[in-house]
């Protein structure tokens, strides 16, 4: 396999891991209208939980359970969901901005825990040698990446199909109803808090899944992997692609990640080493400008939410479909 192709595999794995996270965020923001700007925190919980459950025994911090990769992934999702439950209960009853503040807060606290609770996380040095699935088969580097890509792609399809089914179900319609008009929804007997909490916890569990896969793919986690910039990238992916549309989340993830890595490698090859930091800053400024412009000019993103028309209205035949 040529270098380009193996790079493409590498790129796609990373883009699809982010696509999973963006799908989780789309459930929360796109369908339910929840501001979660602590994405990096839930990604972190998934990563570290996976490292502890499935990773090797570490000399200085928790680990060595040696559980199968699948169990590690499920554990990561459960843990991210549990944290979401704790954050969601006091904040989802309040005005939506409070959730934004609480989630960014929990993401920072989790990063502090990752940095300071050395016995649990390995502190600033992080956790190494996190296993990949099928590690026992002793595949080569290229084959191992290909297998991983197939696995991630399968999971993306699975999560995508599950979410599509869910958001088109009565449950999903309630989410949208709450997003559009909370009072109307609750006057029809739907408890907005309960539905919001379900959507929030499920979305965070999917983010935990992304974190677990990322830890497994990279093989290493450290607190610096979970800076607010990660949350920002995921948001950019969702907004660019089109929130409220799962295909938009997928498209946005690939596009924004391509833009990000593309501008990154251009900056790296063009700029002298002394200016690399400024190049990185410029990259964030650019993508921030893209995000703001899309919010202002095309708030629906590239492929926004589909129009939902009641079946009765369509069949009614009064010409106003």
């Amino acid at each position: 396999m040529t270098g380009l192709l193996s790079y493409l595999v590498f790129f796609l794995i990373q883009a699809l891991i982010y696509a999973l996270v963006a799908l989780g965020l789309n459930l929360q923001w796109g369908y339910t209208g929840l501001f979660n700007i602590g994405v990096a925190g839930f990604f972190l919980v998934g990563s570290y939980t996976f490292a502890v459950l499935s990773g090797p025994a570490y000399a200085t911090h928790l680990g060595g359970f040696g559980l199968p990769v699948a169990v590690g992934i499920l554990g990561a999702m459960a843990m991210a969901g549990l944290i979401a439950l704790v954050v969601g209960i006091p904040t989802l009853r309040l005005r939506e901005d409070y959730l934004a503040i609480a989630t960014i807060g929990i993401a920072e606290v989790l990063r502090l825990v990752a940095l300071n609770a050395r016995g649990l996380t390995g502190g600033s040095r992080g956790a190494q040698s996190i296993p990949r699935p099928f590690q026992g088969l002793e595949l080569g580097n290229v084959a191992s990446n290909l297998v991983f890509l197939v696995l991630v792609a399968a999971l993306v399809v699975l999560v995508y199909l599950a979410l599509e089914t869910m958001v088109r179900s009565p449950w999903g319609r309630v989410l949208k109803a709450i997003r559009e008009d909370e009072q109307a929804a609750s006057s029809l007997g739907k408890d907005p808090f309960r539905f919001r909490l379900q959507s929030f916890v499920l979305g965070c569990a999917i983010m935990g899944l992304g974190g677990a896969l990322n830890a497994s793919f990279v093989g290493f986690v450290a607190p610096t992997d979970f800076l607010p910039i990660l949350t920002f990238e995921i948001w950019a992916m969702l907004i660019v692609g089109g929130s409220g549309n799962n295909r938009g989340a997928l498209l946005g993830s690939v596009l924004v990640w391509a833009f990000w890595t593309g501008t990154g490698s251009i900056a790296q090859s063009l700029l002298p080493s002394g200016l690399q930091v400024k190049g990185g800053a410029l990259q964030v400024i650019l993508i921030g400008a893209v995000l703001l412009l899309i919010l202002m000019i095309r708030p629906r993103g590239l492929i926004g939410e589909e129009r939902t028309v009641s079946r009765e209205a369509e069949l009614g035949g009064d010409g106003r479909t």
Partner: protein, 296 residues
Amino acid sequence: MGQYIADGIVLGATLALGAIGLTLTFNILRFANFAHGELLTFGAYFALALSGVLAFGPDLGSLTFGWGFVLVIVLAAALTAGLAILLDLLIYRVLRRSDVAVALVIASFGASLMLRNIVVFVWGPQPEYYSRAIAIARPVLPGVRLSADEIFVVVVAAVLMIALHLFLTRTRLGKAMRAVSDNAALSQVTGINVTNVVRLVWAVGGALAAVGGILYGLTVQMIPTMGFNLILPMFAAAILGGIGSIYGAVLGGLVIGLAESVSVLWIDPGYKPAVAFALMFVILLVRPHGILGERS
């Protein structure tokens, strides 16, 4: 203990100045402005740029700066007020008009990251200081040592808050601001120009944030993430005091500053930044409208 309380008051002064603008925009414009922290950062860095040309005069007494620095503070505050109004014109106003008001929070989060990286781009990521002179801490009370700079911080914050109080209670504009904060629709009916008041809120909030940032830079240091690191404690202060309550924000700032500082007695200093968040979490659970807030 006394020393931690004194340090907490110094930190609380910065937080209170920042939280005032935050609580006002949260209440009047109805969104949590995550880019508010960057107004502190820009205020501090504007002052850094200005102090290169304007910091004249010999150091005053034990302070690490001359009287020119007061002029620097005023100019940097004016520049930051301008920046806040500019951000509102370029970004928030457009989003408020189009029907996606809910996107304001995301936009402010994006703006915050952009602004932070503009600081990195222009000034670089390294820590900066206004002066290389060492501020010597002298005993002021038994068991409490403060540097002249730290006393200056508390005095400036106190003077600004008294000035703000007089402005809000004695002037037409100040009263209009309070009215809009209480009920924007009703105050518009009584003939208050809400657009102008909103601009004034950005200017006042931005200027106070700038001073908060400069005072923080004076006693700690300046880094591009300083405002971002302070945004959570400031939100905690605003929520603790009750959203929309200016006096609540001041009280909240002091409480959060004290709590963060004193917490070091019991917990690992590495978790110090989490204290504000924990307090905010408890407040949201038991009293969501804060101590001095009236409405939910």
